[in-house]
Symmetry: C2
Subunit: 118 residues, 2 copies
């Protein structure tokens, strides 16, 4: 689900936008051929300047995820394959962590550290 960018996270807005759209692709919420909201709508959805939206779309285009049709819109270029088992693994983990009342940021810190120095 596309949502407002977090302007206090320290992570550049255009990176957050790229990440959100990639996540939609991975979860199958955006599939090949689907049309993205218009650039000006995305501007409102993410609550950023139009140039910031374009920077994100340009990156996604360069990576082959989307393509633009001048005067028409942006479209998803290809599906991103992902094993449903992986999503289920993550869902279960997130569920457990939320039960333990841990916040997202802390979870991410531990997740990254464990991943890189297991």
């Amino acid at each position: 689900m596309l949502r407002k960018v977090d302007k206090h996270s320290g992570i550049p807005a255009y990176i957050q936008i790229v990440n959100m759209i990639k996540a939609e692709l991975l979860l199958g919420n955006l599939q090949k051929g689907a049309q993205l909201p218009t650039v000006r709508d995305l501007q409102n959805i993410f609550d950023v300047n139009i140039n910031t939206v374009l920077k994100a779309l340009e990156k996604l285009k360069a990576e082959g995820y989307i393509e633009a049709e001048q005067g028409v819109g942006y479209f998803i270029k290809r599906d991103v394959e992902i094993d449903q088992k992986i999503i289920e693994t993550i869902r279960e983990c997130v569920s457990k962590l939320k039960d333990d009342r841990i916040d997202f940021y802390t979870a991410m810190l531990i997740f990254e550290e464990v991943w890189k120095n297991g």
Copy 2:
């Protein structure tokens, strides 16, 4: 474990440094009273400019995690409590995901999206 900053991740270096040190605190690898490497050593460890190190340390100090002794060094101010069960949950999840050959970035994207729109 403190390691080089990823200069291509898009995430500001000083934020990465703050996150790495916080992760060490959460995992108990850095405990109350422990001394951090010197500012100039940290500069080499993270492979950034001294001002970038100071910016990160300043943030950690402002948040109460560390304190400075002029002419002596930086020290951990307090332990960060965290249920070991949480760490175990994350370890297991990471282990499963690595078995499935998924890369860190993709895992994080799904993790964040599932967390925020379960």
